[in-house]
Symmetry: C2
Subunit: 332 residues, 2 copies
């Protein structure tokens, strides 16, 4: 018989149904075999040497000649940097003009690498760029919320192989975010404690779903993980906003992220995945009940009618088994 588990942070129920399950080791890349790409691709706008193919550059790491990381405006922005924020609201229809920030972080000059393979110091620099761009985007008075995310592989929604991630800052607060804030607030009011901090304490003491545990960060598979190997990286120091992360913590976050992505890359055959930084704005960093974190979802299963129609996911691997697999998975 399956088991339904409630994720208290997202309020989502998950069916843990292992009857059709593959063993963790049986998951392989859903993508078909592809030829190894070259380090430079003439047609790739993100490759070093093709800088003229991107939109406006907003930041870079490295000198004029040899950049290591570039931030550019998205060529087809979901929201535009120029324009006024105007609202329409009547009894049944509400709209806002699509202003905000949409940037691409080109994580590396080379085409044929992967975030999982970066030098630790390089990944730390990528995360530092995230912090800067996130803070900067939130300075825009039209912006109400910002997320940083990565789509890796076609199954995760990207058509561009070159390692990159994105920032989108919207002129509204997503309902999903508001909703989770409300749940966290209720928990705080009931217990006087941050729900996420309580979760870290509990997961560290149980240990069954722990993956990596160091001074400042704790990586684990959530009790109600929504899919195989769905993983969360939580900062141990309570803070509502990613903008608040300190330099020493950046180094350690890079270690957690790199280790986890390398485990995916080498032990799950480089699966498609998304990751996202869920965070409050810098100006809300002092809030006692929100707690920023990084969520990683390998795209090994497909949402279908049941998931769309109920918001309930079906996970075919026990979260405890996913965690045990990831703990012992090789990283090179």
């Amino acid at each position: 018989m399956s088991e339904l588990r409630l994720n208290l942070i997202t309020r989502e129920w998950v069916v843990i149904s292992t009857e059709r399950a593959k063993r963790p080791g049986e998951f392989t890349n859903s993508r078909s075999e592809r030829p190894t790409p070259p380090p430079y691709l003439h047609t790739c706008p993100f490759c070093a040497g093709n800088e003229h193919k991107t939109s406006e550059e907003r930041a870079r790491v490295g000198d004029g000649k040899g950049w290591q990381i570039r931030v550019v405006a998205n060529r087809y922005p979901a929201v535009s940097i120029a324009g006024e924020k105007t609202r329409h609201a009547d009894a049944l229809m509400r709209s806002v003009s699509g202003v905000g920030v949409h940037e691409v972080v080109i994580e590396h000059p080379a085409h044929n690498t992967s975030t999982a393979l970066f030098e630790l110091r390089h990944l730390e620099n990528v995360l530092r760029v995230y912090r800067e761009r996130f803070t900067e985007a939130n300075r825009d008075p039209r912006v109400e919320h910002a997320i940083i995310f990565k789509n890796h592989g076609e199954g995760a929604g990207t058509a561009v192989d070159h390692p990159h991630s994105q920032l989108i800052a919207t002129p509204v607060v997503p309902y999903q975010f508001r909703d989770r804030v409300r749940a966290a607030m209720h928990y705080f009011d009931d217990t006087g404690e941050c729900l996420h901090c309580a979760m870290i304490k509990r997961e560290r003491s149980e240990g069954a779903r722990a993956v990596i545990d160091t001074e400042h960060f704790f990586t684990f598979v959530p009790y109600a993980a929504l899919s195989p190997f769905h993983t969360w990286i939580f900062p141990k120091r309570h803070s509502a906003s990613f903008s608040d992360i300190r330099d020493g913590e950046l180094t350690e976050l890079a270690y957690h992220l790199k280790t986890l992505l390398a485990k995916f890359y080498f032990s799950l055959e480089n699966p498609d995945f998304n990751y996202v930084i869920r965070s409050s704005r810098p100006q809300d960093a002092g809030n006692e009940y929100c707690h920023w974190y990084l969520a990683i979802v390998p795209r090994l299963s497909k949402a279908a009618g049941f998931e769309l129609g109920s918001g309930i996911y079906i996970n075919t691997v026990l979260p405890e088994e996913s965690a045990a697999f990831l703990r012992s998975a090789r990283t090179e």
Copy 2:
């Protein structure tokens, strides 16, 4: 510049971003060309003649020899029909045993047909079976919520071509459902009116997003449709539960569904899609603020990190353009 629109019923914001847009006529099936399947497939458990390959039969339409529709237990159920409902709840972890109902509705004896191609009377019978199974599943005291859904095509999450749909009845109420009930309740308390009834009135008077309008049903593209051709079929008579649908209304619902699916099939080249019936339980049918409906989502775009991380969708086709296209799309 794009526009963000709020769907007042789901509370989801959608970015309507047409800069990268295809014209509605440019959408083609994302699936690769497949050979036409035969009417009978030796290996298909749903084909007439292979009845021994399915689990327990729970209902059928037609006589013993020539069934037209069969309902069978899902061979790999997400929730089990046997077993006790037990709950575990502590401060941070909540679980329920996976009991409930998981059935497959085999919509037709032939392998090589599609719901869009059914005779109207046949589709009406399928919908009647839905009503019966939905009502029956909700009689189980362990069940708290049930949904009926269809996955058509690999991109919509099915591996089986034979036309079929599913019912899953869970021992918990999905948070997504509770949440929408709460929003509808607030609207009712504020205005004394059902939000969905108000929406029908408004959409019918504006007309720009209307697709099919008959005595008992109204089919339209929502103002904040989450993807191209995302469509809703609303009953005009207020009722919270699909179980409450009358025989004459079933005929008309079949007409709306068949017409819409035929438009998809012939004018969008048989795209992958999901549909789902969103409904309260029969015992809640009298509720003034909930309103059952059928939602259809062609899978022409892919949810990526932004959608996962924010709950905001990006729709590259104006809902008004989707509706205009569907109004004039051919049905044969």
